[in-house]
Subunit: 261 residues, 2 copies
């Protein structure tokens, strides 16, 4: 199966994109809702959690893993990929490549959690591939709680987005990477505040495209993956609010199963 | 020692109050920053965490325990107090008693996290002691992340507080319980939006008063407590932001020690 994990429910945007691009492939999801969010926590703690999540997915049938959390992708990718001998996908590299394809001015903006932005991973990866690019990064720590409250269209949310994006607008970025899987749910407000002409890169969509291309090019891996169009959703904690958020993101009711990890 | 635990750093408001009312008493604090926040999580998960936190404090010398987290106080008090034979203090009852002393109209407002408000614990305790009281409760889940970002004085925070408090203002409460240890840090904005005449009950101050009264009345317990004016601060995760928030709340630099629990 294709295994996907996230700090919570934002990674369901990646599952949604995978279900659209690979509708027959079985997917197993783990959302660490008992310890969410990761974006405010230290690298050491996020690495420990990422290893536990990966163990859970592999023990339950995952043959490839998508790290659908920007924070975990930013700080835990070397540790996780170093420990297991299966294909891994993280959400950073596909978004970086896509941003370099679309930018015309080489002025690229990145928004994410504090942990993601502090890691500097987007800037490093962009500069490695295009040394003359200018990268403007901004941590937006309140956007995850706003999405999880369902405040996507509230005026307060728009004001906060405007405040966060102001320095990127002043820097005249022509491309903006949404460096957090929750942010696609705020895409409309973000597009309106950053300006219509700015290309917005949604890391959920780009990683799903990358997984599809990889599977098509690697029939030996493809043969390992079951294809009954099944999806299984595991979380480390369940509340009514988590159920509602999951349904909002996937645009349909889903059954969440609780596991202790 | 006096042991104090919280889901994160908000409980330091209780430590601050204890240091003022009992300056000689040694205090050991545990903040579960690796799994913070509790207020969005299920009762089952919060109970599990509360038992682990209590074990840590007792194993490290605590002879009495203050549950400085409204969410844990709301959902985990029976489980925690049932397991150990030492005195426990939670933050709900002292605030309820204080609100009943100050209200003149018996119209009492309560704000807190989603878990605290959904537990209905404030309403139950108030109604048990004064059946004709009217209790108006409102979950305010964005206030904890706003405090943790240090956005205490930002206009967006004031707008969000105004929106949350609107139904309580309409209900003409004359007393408002701050049912979350983070909220005292927003007291000024809350007072301004709810109105100057409303009495605000700060659960950090009231529980510290309760602990002092108990110790004075129980010399056998008092004899067990060491009095070197020492404070030890343990957390399950450390970041720069956590250090800054801790210093903001305690109004001085403190040394946080990381432990895995």
């Amino acid at each position: 199966m294709i295994g996907v994990f996230d700090s919570g429910l934002g990674g369901l945007t990646v599952v949604r994109a995978l279900m659209e691009s690979l509708p027959d492939y079985d997917i197993i999801y783990f959302g660490d809702t008992a310890r969410t969010p990761y974006g405010t926590k230290s690298s050491e703690t996020v690495i420990r959690y990422a290893l536990q999540n990966t163990d859970f997915l592999i023990n339950n049938g995952a043959n490839i893993i998508v790290i659908a959390c920007n924070t975990a992708s930013s700080v835990a990718t070397p540790e996780v990929t170093g420990k297991y001998d299966i294909p891994f996908f993280e959400v950073i590299t596909p978004a970086v490549d896509h941003s370099l394809e679309t930018t015309k001015t080489n002025n690229i903006g990145v928004i994410g959690t504090r942990a993601t932005i502090n890691s500097g991973v987007y800037e490093r990866k962009i500069k490695k591939k295009r040394p003359d690019a200018k990268v403007y990064s901004k941590p937006c720590p309140l956007l995850v709680p706003l999405v999880e409250e369902g405040w996507m269209k509230k005026p307060e949310t728009k004001m906060i987005i405007k405040k966060y994006l102001h320095p990127l607008k002043v820097s005249q970025v022509d491309t903006l990477i949404l460096g957090c899987t929750h942010y696609p749910l705020l895409k409309e407000a973000i597009q309106s505040k950053i300006g219509k002409k700015v290309n917005i890169i949604d890391s959920a969509l780009t990683v799903a495209g990358r997984v599809k291309t990889y599977i098509e090019a690697n029939p030996d891996i493809d043969n390992l993956l079951t294809k009954h169009g099944k999806t299984e959703f595991y979380v480390s904690d369940i509340t009514q609010q988590f159920k509602e958020t999951a349904s909002t993101i996937l645009k349909r009711k889903i059954h969440l199963k609780q596991v202790k990890i």
